[in-house]
Symmetry: C2
C-alpha cells in the first residue's frame, strides 16, 4: 500500500501533472526552480502512446521529484477523441490553419478530470499548489486550456475539498499558458532540461520514437527550429 | 470499440452517475420520470465493495437506461480514504454525533473527479444534463456535497467543454440534495424502485450482502425505519 501520509519537507509541496512530454517536463523544471518539492502525477488514461508514461517516470526522477504516482483511468469507455478512440491521428498538414476549430485530438473534459485527480493528490499531500502545462498559444482550440477555465477550476477547488473548507486557497500554476513553443524550449534548456528524455508524439512507438508528422510533433519541431536549437527528438523515420 | 456517436432519441439525454446504491438509483428513477433518456456511468475507482458495480449494471438495465458505461480509475494510487486505502471502515457507533467533522470515508476530490468524467461522457453524447445523488443532509461533512460546490462545477463545465464554448449551458441536477433518507426511499418506491437490487454498504461482501454496521448501512436502515417501510436490504449477519 502506498502511504498517504504527507511527506516532511521544509519546501512547500506542489503537485505537478506530468505527461512526460516537452511542455509538462518544462513545467516540472520551473516548479523545482521556484523552490517547490515536487509530487508528480502521471495519468494512464488509455492513451495510445504509452512511451509517454515511461518518459514521465524517468523525467520525474531526473528532475528530483520527491514522489511520482500514476493513476490508471481508462477513458476509452467514454471515447470521443483520436487520442483514446480508434480514430486516425491526423497529420498536421491535413489541418487547415485558416479554419481554426477544436481538434479531434481534444479529449472531452480532459483537463477537468486531470486537475480533479491532481487536486485529490494535493489534498492527500497537504499541498495547495498545482502545476499544469496548458498552453493557450498552440492549443487555443482547446476550451480547457484557457485562463478563464483555470480560474474557474481554482474557485471550484476551494469549495471542493476539506482543506478548502478549512481556509486553504489553491493556486493553479500555468507557467506556459502564453509562451510559444520556442520560448518554452529556451526556458527549459536554461533550467537544464534534457528534452531527449521527453516524448510528445501522439503516436510514439514502444521505444518512444516520434512519428514526426502529427500535430504535436510538428509543433515541437518548429519550437526547436525557431529557438535555433538542435532538435534532440528521436524520430522513427 | 464502443461507439462515441450520439444516440438518436426524441427524449433529451442525461448522464446519471450511478454507483448502484440507494441514492443514485433513486436519482436514475427521477431522471427517467422527468423524461430523460438515461446514460448511466459507474466508476470502478478501486472501491472495496465491488458488489456495487454489479448492482449499478443491473439497476441501469432495470430502469431502462439506454446505455451503461464503466470507467476504471484506480484512486488507490492517490489514497487518503477508508474507502480506497487499507484503513478500517469505522462502525457508525464509533462516530461522535456531537463532533461533526469530515469523515474518513471522504475520498479527496471525489465528486470533482466523478463530475469531470460525467461531463466528458455528456460531451460525447451531446447531453447538457448531469444527475448526481449528492446529499447535504446525511453527508453534510463532505465539502463536495454542498450546493455551492455544485454551482461552481456547473460554471466550470460551461467553460471546460467544446459544447460550452459553443453556447451549451450545463445543468447539474441534485434532486436528493436536501432530502432525508426516509424521503428518498418514499420517492423512490413511488417510482417503482426495487431497493433489494441496490447496494449501499461500504464493505458489502461479494454477494452484495451488507455489513449492517457501517455509516452507510446505518443511514440506510434508519431511512427505511423512518419511512415505515420494511427494509429489503440483504444483510450478511
Amino acid at each position: 500500500m502506498i502511504s498517504s501520509t504527507p511527506i516532511q519537507t521544509s519546501q512547500p509541496v506542489a503537485v505537478i501533472l506530468l505527461s512526460g512530454g516537452l511542455d509538462s517536463t518544462t513545467v516540472l523544471a520551473m516548479a523545482r526552480e521556484q523552490g517547490f518539492a515536487a509530487c508528480t502525477l502521471a495519468v494512464d488514461y488509455g492513451q495510445r502512446h504509452r512511451a509517454e508514461l515511461d518518459a514521465a517516470a524517468a523525467v520525474s526522477k531526473a528532475l528530483g521529484a520527491i514522489e511520482h504516482r500514476v493513476v490508471r483511468m481508462d477513458l476509452r469507455s467514454i471515447g470521443g477523441s483520436a487520442l483514446t478512440d480508434d480514430i486516425e491521428v491526423p497529420d498536421a498538414a491535413a489541418i487547415d490553419p485558416d479554419q481554426p476549430s477544436i481538434p479531434i485530438t481534444y479529449v472531452p473534459a480532459r483537463n477537468t478530470i486531470l486537475l480533479g485527480l491532481a487536486l485529490g493528490y494535493a489534498e492527500v499531500m497537504n499541498a495547495s499548489d498545482l502545476f499544469i502545462g496548458v498552453n493557450n498559444v498552440d492549443y487555443s482550440g482547446y476550451p480547457d486550456c484557457r485562463p478563464e477555465f483555470i480560474n474557474a477550476f481554482a474557485s471550484l477547488a476551494n469549495l471542493a475539498t476539506r482543506a478548502g473548507v478549512e481556509g486553504l486557497r489553491y493556486r493553479i500554476h500555468t507557467p506556459l499558458i502564453s509562451l510559444g513553443k520556442d520560448e518554452i524550449v529556451r526556458q527549459g534548456l536554461a533550467l537544464g532540461v534534457d528534452y531527449a528524455m521527453t516524448v510528445s508524439c501522439y503516436q510514439a512507438d514502444e521505444a518512444g520514437r516520434a512519428c514526426g508528422r502529427c500535430d504535436s510533433c510538428v509543433l515541437r519541431r518548429e519550437g526547436f527550429e525557431r529557438a535555433g536549437i538542435a532538435d534532440p527528438t528521436r524520430y522513427a523515420v
